[in-house]
Symmetry: C2
Subunit: 200 residues, 2 copies
């Protein structure tokens, strides 16, 4: 188990240097002599050392982990966004912890728990205006809204211009010569699409 794993101390002993030097090598500091570095890397390899992320987070005050909250995980649109977010996040050396909050209450308590526990460096909120959950957005905590309308204003947000998207799709069909164009939507966006088409 995690408890029994080899620590920076063991590596230091094996390489005959101080822990600090190990830390330097691990974090790519360039103030280490090439030979020392080589010796350290050897020790690391032989002992199968992997730095403990928790201890690191503790010392650094940040966890390299982001949370992503969405109403649910099964909605294909949400899932796609999360998938993309995860790839982007990981490419930058972060982890993503995705959770779903079906209702505002769950959302509120999750946000409180996540933002307050120190487990997370920032939060991504998908569909922040669903059932008024934006009222429970974390205060003074790094947050990005996804799928927010641009009006979000105060916080950073990624918005999709649904109206323009509809217009583009319709125009495409129109250009192809189609004149009988139907749209299948849910209740909420029906109005937008209709308007979009009219204005073409």
């Amino acid at each position: 188990m995690a408890r029994s794993r080899v620590t920076i101390r063991d590596v230091a002993a094996a390489a005959g240097v101080s822990r600090q030097t190990i830390s330097r090598v691990i974090n790519g500091s360039d103030l280490v002599s090439p030979e020392t570095e080589a010796r350290v890397r050897d020790a690391v390899r032989q002992l199968g050392y992997q730095p403990n992320a928790i201890a690191r987070s503790m010392a650094l005050g940040r966890t390299q982990t982001l949370a992503c909250l969405s109403p649910n995980l099964t909605d294909y649109t949400f899932a796609s966004v999360i998938d993309g977010a995860e790839a982007a996040v990981r490419a930058r050396g972060y982890f993503l912890m995705s959770s779903s909050a079906p209702d505002p209450d769950t959302f509120a308590s999750l946000v409180g728990e996540l933002a307050g526990s120190g487990y997370i460096d920032g939060i991504l909120v998908i569909n922040p205006f669903a059932d008024n959950r934006h009222r429970y957005l974390p205060h003074a905590f790094p947050t990005v809204l996804i799928g927010a309308r641009p009006r979000a204003g105060v916080v950073d947000s990624v918005a999709l211009d649904d109206v323009e998207a509809g217009r583009m799709a319709t125009r495409h069909l129109w250009v192809l010569g189609h004149r009988q164009i139907a749209t299948v939507t849910g209740a909420t966006c029906r109005g937008l699409f209709t308007r979009s088409i009219k204005r073409l």
Copy 2:
């Protein structure tokens, strides 16, 4: 930010007791006098204290966090499983960090990183036999396979009896009097379904 938050120290000072006592109250130890406890709870509330999960993990040697790895997040079946797992996990006071590993390589590196970093107490693997990724399952690390065939054996696993499920569905239709029964599937399970129907 996390760094500026109120710590157990502040609460201790405010309540006029030692940190240890705060810790006891937080963790529901019963060796604290009712009045002390009340005083502590007051201080906690007034200062808006929330224990730091990282520090806690550090001291405890576990993180109360599980990881769930699936080939992707957008497959409805996977997403449903994750959604369920998350609810179950949370109900037991854990967090769930779901990640997707589209290919065996990603899977292998993710597993190594997660299992070795101390960030995670255990791993859930969805569809462990997809593209042979079971070869890269973590060694000596708490793991549960989901969607594994019962033959998994060595590790704990949750299996779905696809054949019996198909049989049940078909029988249901049969009983209703239907005789023309079709099945729409992907390439991999076609054989199973066909057999299931034949044996009815």
